[in-house]
């Protein structure tokens, strides 16, 4: 192989590569057995005697349960603009999910181009200009903006990502980002620019509404969510502490 080959030759060589894959396992019977087993379990009443209860009694109990669940859910949900935080005990004890990487959102663009595409302006924190920007196309609401900064001396890398700071901006109240945290204690209420803000410093799960559906990510960095002007809310992810994150947010004009 020549030391300096053309891209075309490189593509041809890649196409001719034979990778020694392990033998593919049969898999079909295992998958279908799991599905059949799950179906059987779903059909089985959780409490066999409950199947004998009269229907009216079951309806009343289900209605009461729903009301109780709604009451708990209402108490455990917090929202700022398009960002919602839910308290879901045990949510972070499940299998890990990929960290939030802005580049899954498509082609990076300049901040100006992203703002023009999204159709609303975002106030950036007091930091150097972002290195990359992206537009999130949501299935339901307005598009969101993502700005990402590469790590630097003042912006330490967010563990598990290649970024030093990530800012998501969204206009309106249509749910774009849902964050699920394990405990009430993981959420602190703060004030930024005189308005309500949230600080989350524990690992949590982020669900992002995109045009392809909901994407789920694990977030290990600290997160500050606040309401800005013009109906735009912000979510900042950083490895910095609360005071530094607040300074960045307060520094946004």
């Amino acid at each position: 192989m020549d030391d300096r080959m053309s891209i075309e030759r490189l593509e041809a060589a890649l196409g001719a590569l034979g990778v020694a894959y392990p033998e593919t396992p049969p898999m079909v019977s295992a998958v279908t057995a799991r599905l059949a087993s799950q179906r059987a379990a779903d059909r089985r009443p959780a409490f066999p005697r409950a199947a004998l209860w009269n229907r009216r009694r079951v309806v009343v109990l289900v209605a009461a349960g729903l009301l109780a669940a709604l009451a708990i859910a209402a108490a455990a949900r917090y929202a700022i603009g398009a960002f919602e935080v839910r308290v879901q005990p045990g949510v972070t004890s499940g299998p890990s999910t990929p960290p939030f990487e802005p580049d899954v959102l498509g082609e990076p663009m300049t901040p100006d181009a992203a703002v023009a595409l999204a159709g609303f302006d975002a106030r950036l924190p007091a930091a150097p200009p972002p290195d990359e920007a992206y537009v999130i196309d949501s299935q339901f609401g307005d598009p969101g903006l993502v700005f990402a900064w590469r790590p630097s001396a003042s912006l330490p890398v967010i563990e598990g990502t290649e970024w030093g700071l990530v800012l998501v901006a969204a206009q309106g109240d249509t749910e774009l980002v849902v964050k699920a945290i394990d405990r009430f204690e993981d959420l602190q209420e703060l004030v930024v620019h005189g308005r309500r803000a949230f600080w989350i410093s524990a690992p949590h799960v982020l669900m992002l509404e995109t045009e392809r559906g909901v994407e789920t990510y694990a977030v290990g960095g600290n997160v500050l969510i606040w309401q800005g002007d013009g109906g735009v809310a912000y979510r900042l992810e950083t490895a910095l502490g609360r005071a530094e994150a607040l300074a960045l947010a307060e520094g946004a004009p």
Partner: protein, 191 residues
């Protein structure tokens, strides 16, 4: 395994519709059809046969329950590969310290084996190992787009769906990845 119409294997779209209606056997047909590419995709990410099998199997199970969200008219293969990729990445992260198998070229064929393709025959084994070694030294982002396009032979559109990026991104990302691969080939492996 599943009904066939006049001996014709059912199209993916028909199998998906049946599976959406709860037909597990129809879904099994889809699993059989895509298990190899699913397993290989997962293996390229995890480099562990066990993890790759678990990831592919879990992905097929999750995909079955997510069929209601599968958009009619879209291709099943890239959709399932995206789910497989996510499952495989989760597993790789949880087994981050485990040693992973390196990419290796297929062994030389014996006298009774099928003849290699003309393209493969022109690429000497040491060149293949060198190319695979260079691939290993790329970032995961570069390696995955090259692997999806050239090792798994997905189309650009399928690669975009499997990676969860826009189609235009694949072209630019691939171009940059190939440039970096070429540059990496020029540097000795221990350099």
């Amino acid at each position: 395994m599943t009904d066939r119409v006049e001996g014709r294997p059912l199209e993916d779209v028909e199998l998906v519709e049946r599976a959406r209606g709860g037909d597990i056997a129809a879904y099994g047909e889809l699993v059989d059809r895509y298990r190899e590419v699913a397993f290989r995709t997962a293996w390229l990410i995890t480099r562990s046969s066990g993890d790759a099998e678990d990831a592919a199997q879990d992905a097929f199970v999750k995909a079955f329950y997510a069929l209601a969200r599968f958009r009619r008219g879209e291709a099943f293969r890239p959709w399932i590969l995206r789910i497989v990729s996510n499952e495989a990445r989760n597993r790789r992260r949880s087994a981050a310290r485990r040693e992973r198998l390196a990419l290796r070229a297929e062994r030389e064929r014996g006298p009774g084996d099928a003849a290699p393709s003309p393209e493969a025959a022109t690429l000497a084994r040491e060149d293949r190992e060198r190319l695979l070694g260079a691939l290993e030294r790329l970032s995961e982002r570069d390696r995955s787009v090259i692997a999806y396009r050239y090792l798994l032979e997905l189309s650009e559109a399928e690669t975009a769906e499997a990676l969860g990026v826009r189609p235009g991104t694949v072209k630019s990302r691939l171009s940059r990845a190939l440039e970096r691969l070429r540059a990496t080939l020029e540097v000795p492996a221990d350099g």
